[in-house]
Symmetry: C2
Subunit: 243 residues, 2 copies
Amino acid sequence: MLFFTQCFGAVLDLIHLRFQHYKAKRVFSAAGQLVCVVNPTHSLKYAPTRCAAAAQESTEQGVLPPCHHHEAVHDPQLVPCTCPLFSCPWEGHLEVVVSHLRQTHRINILQGAEIVFLATDMHLPAPTDWIIMHSCLGHQFLLVLRKQEKHEGHPQFFATMMLIGTPSQANNFTYRLELNRNQRRLKWEATPRSVLERVDSVISDGDCLVLNTSLAQLFSDNGSLAIGIAITTSKVHSSEAEM
Amino acid sequence: MLFFTQCFGAVLDLIHLRFQHYKAKRVFSAAGQLVCVVNPTHSLKYAPTRCAAAAQESTEQGVLPPCHHHEAVHDPQLVPCTCPLFSCPWEGHLEVVVSHLRQTHRINILQGAEIVFLATDMHLPAPTDWIIMHSCLGHQFLLVLRKQEKHEGHPQFFATMMLIGTPSQANNFTYRLELNRNQRRLKWEATPRSVLERVDSVISDGDCLVLNTSLAQLFSDNGSLAIGIAITTSKVHSSEAEM
């Protein structure tokens, strides 16, 4: 029995060491932070059969979009599915968005004020999304990293964090995304947008962290990109004088 | 005489107030920092008659570039003119680059560890450059902000800082560029490159702060972009564990 316990302990130690090595190798600066490996999903968003595409087409033709025309008319708190990955006809109140994203779309949720988001397989062709939820300070946030070609043949990476809550709730927070590798550091700090303003709008406005392919490569390690994430409640930007 | 002195004092006060107002209005976070207004220069770099264009064409055809083939053959310390604005046939040793840039190209030089670079008229069409020299920690640095269209119809802004010195000297420094406005903050930290590696290469590699037009607009105030600049000697990146 003692032998078994010792063996088990040694195996645990080995697993621990290996995990440490893995962390040290893939996320060099993740000391004491939760590292979350996020696998990509090829985005179906831009396929011509998509609801969003159909909505856009019909709007261009002056017809009301078939999927989202309820939201403005009936209840501004009724959210169409915020998951940017799939054509999803679901609509619901903000309070049940998180459980919908977890259950229907299997998006993971992580706890903690500071986490490391490790996006794998950055080389995959656009459009591709990396998505996770982040539970922190009593609220849930949605982190989206998207690889998209705004200009044909030139994919870019867009990263943003959105509050699963109202715009006025979102104004109480600041989020920070940080890349740190190869003697370079890039930090983006902003007030999160609400999921009521859709991910697509934020990315098409370019109001997020934007990386071209060469910068993404400089910050990547072995095809994976580690993004340090921190959320605070304080109004950091009122102290802009300390720039 | 007393009346004259008082009048003069009042005028000085007014000028001072106006300058304070100007600073407060245009560079909100410049408390105690030196603000330098940098006017744009339409870049002639990309005109078809330019040496660089000719060099690129001839390189593509497998011919040695006509302008820079001396530098590698004769003396690696001999620097072709580092000013990215003009077709300049000048070549010289690193020690006299600063005086050449000041005297021939009228590029200003500023003192101080932290300065604010205020680039005006950001709306001007690409290609446009904003350039200044920065004297700090016993060395001179060249700050270049360039508006350029890598993809036709989609101008981007590229900002980098280079040491007027050798690559091994450059390795002792870290520079930081910071944008801060509209509840958004973007920071880029890196080791400066040496002017011996040319500005064009750094920008075409994308190894610098890159802004698309929408981000540049978010950070601009009334057509001007304020970039906070700081240079340190410490090897900040050895402490990457604190990310």
